[in-house]
Amino acid sequence: MQDVRLIESGFDPALELERFTAGLPAAGGIVSFLGQVREGGGVEALELKHYGPLTLPGMQALGGTIHARWPLDGLLLLHRVGVMAPRDPIVLVAAAARHRRDAFAAADFAMDHLKSESWFWKREKTAQGWRWIEPRAQDRDDLARW
């Protein structure tokens, strides 16, 4: 089971995770990662732009890679695009597996690749206006682990 979506407006991570889990009664463990817009630090809004012809197909291909690499019962990859406010969810990844090591590794791998290889461009709005976020060296290091 693979559920990969780009989401144009808000979503409810608790509800999404509950639905995902409900469909997987034979999975022993479910690992999830929720990324949200941090409150504080002067960020008033965050915008994620994407390129339609590449972004969702890229996420679907990532899902296929993950399914091929770990024995999973289910994989959920949800990513917001558009303008978000502090506390809004940005990304929800969940991996369900019989064995918890597989679920941890799959979710961790998914996040490293969503951060560094998916077609998203991020900008933040502060009192000084909008500013594009540059790629972080840490993201490249994370990717090199796999």
Binding site: K49, P53, H79, L114, S118
Partner: protein, 79 residues
């Protein structure tokens, strides 16, 4: 109808819009008709290109025809 250039991330700011319609022709000619500051940014070594939704490795022989879309993709910063 012409061809269309699409600018992602900070390239949108350099171009002043997220896309621009241009006259068809060889890519070198299309770029030569842009503002030089924009053309330099678009040819940056970390900027990748996608022609009609597919990444292209070599831009040497690209000729934009009517209805073609060429996207300029700077390094991502997503997730």
């Amino acid at each position: 109808m012409g061809a269309r250039l699409v600018f992602l991330g900070r390239l949108e700011d350099v171009a002043g819009a997220d896309a621009r319609d241009v006259a068809p022709g060889p890519l070198a000619d299309v770029l030569a008709r842009l503002e030089p500051t924009l053309a330099v940014e678009l040819l940056g070594e970390r900027v990748r290109m996608a022609l009609n939704g597919r990444l292209i490795a070599e831009t040497g022989g690209v000729v934009l025809g009517d209805g073609d879309e060429l996207a300029f993709l700077p390094p991502v910063s997503g997730g």
